[in-house]
């Protein structure tokens, strides 16, 4: 199952790369020379102690893991107290696509940073996934057309949703046509569609 690969952070996984691109606030505990440009707010040459900058997670985790630590990594808005309460209240309503496109992946990477609230974050991730999953399962099985609210899903949920629908249609195919219908490879179909659209564009 392709899904189980993305849980084990895979060096080449695009989802993992994009998830670690999400930004987290970092409060510098050390002066850093020549990298002032990292802070869009100031035009100084160096980064002074105590300045707080939003940096992508892949950089923040390096800053945090140095001994002595260069900067203290805070929690992004989406995992702060306020939003955690919203998620606890009713996760199914939240539009994760807008809030954090890689909510679960990002959350898991954050937990690995051994932040004091990591346990709390992990709990929110698990609980909200449980409830939202029931909704995704329902959408996947009962609607033949793409459900409008599926726009609210984050990346991992969308993969599960698409997989659910595909499995559903394959089961239906198997029940009606029998499993032995050989079809063109999907890359071939995609390639043909591209050629068709190009041909239409030409004349």
């Amino acid at each position: 199952m392709s899904l189980c690969q993305s849980y084990v952070p895979n060096y080449f996984s695009i989802a993992d790369i994009l998830a670690t691109q999400e930004r987290v606030p970092c409060k510098f505990e050390m002066q850093v020379k020549h990298l002032g440009f990292l802070d869009p707010g100031s035009d100084k040459r160096d980064i002074e102690i105590g300045t707080s900058i939003e940096l992508p997670l892949w950089m923040a985790s390096v800053l945090n893991s140095q001994r002595p630590s260069i900067a203290d990594v805070g929690l992004p808005k989406v995992f702060k107290e306020a939003y955690r309460d919203i998620m606890k209240a009713d996760p199914c309503v939240v539009d994760l696509h807008k809030l954090a496109k890689y909510f679960y992946e990002f959350g898991m990477n954050l937990c690995m940073l051994k932040h004091r609230e990591s346990a709390e974050i992990a709990n929110v991730l698990v609980e909200s996934f449980k409830q939202r999953f029931r909704q995704i399962l329902d959408w996947a099985q009962h609607s033949t057309t793409e459900v409008a609210e599926s726009k609210k899903l984050d990346n991992t949920e969308k993969i599960i949703y698409q997989m659910g629908r595909e499995v559903g249609s394959r089961l239906h195919m198997w029940l009606t046509e029998g499993g032995s219908l050989i079809t063109a490879a999907d890359m071939v179909i995609q390639h043909k569609k591209m050629k068709l659209t190009q041909k239409d564009l030409l004349h």
Partner: protein, 259 residues
Amino acid sequence: MKEFRPPNFPLTCRESIDVNFNVLKNRRPLSQTSCYNPDLDTMEDTFDDEDFLSDQEDISVQKVLQTLEEAWLNEKFSPELLPSQEDYVHCMMDQIQQMEDNLNKLKKTDFRGEVHHMELARIRYIITSYLRTRLDKIELATAHILEQEALRGPENSYLSEGELKFAKEFLALQESHSKQLVLRHMPSPFQEFMPTQQTLVPNLRSHVFLRAKKDVQSVVIEGDRDNRDEEVDLDENSQHIMQYQPIATYLKDGSLQLI
């Protein structure tokens, strides 16, 4: 066409390989077939009683097919690469070759030829699908598998000889490609290919469906966040959904079957 049974042709299917319903249901009743001469019995039922002397012990072809089918299902559902059933595959392919030669002797319109051809095609499908699944796993986690293989040593290797050769060549291909395209342009400390750090490790904690073929005592399930380890007994023919890690060894010694 499948949803009703034709009134005049009651049919009994062999339970292990459901012979193609399509071919049989529209056949003429046997009485009308051209003379069904009993003496041409080079092939009674395909595998029922033909013995096949494989080197270890005297097992019937039927048993070989059975193990191959189970190995295929296990390979399909397990996240990691399982020990190869290479000798069963070779034995089955020889058997198919033999069968095909016999079948070609038959008259073209003989009805039994079709049925046996059908069975051979389905067996070939099992073999190809089995080897294809293994190949996909090898290509995804080449470095990890080669590393494990080295640790295990040659006597209980998981890869067949052909697979080992393929894996090595494939890894070399990946390395030369990355080097040629990107690595050689990078600053020297970053030019190293570092396969193990970058490869995909199969996720042994993913869940699988399984059926216990015989009683299995005290399987240790390591507890996660808020509960401790526990021990579970799996009694025969019971079905479970569990993490793969705890049952890996029992699967490999044949007491469990993934479904």
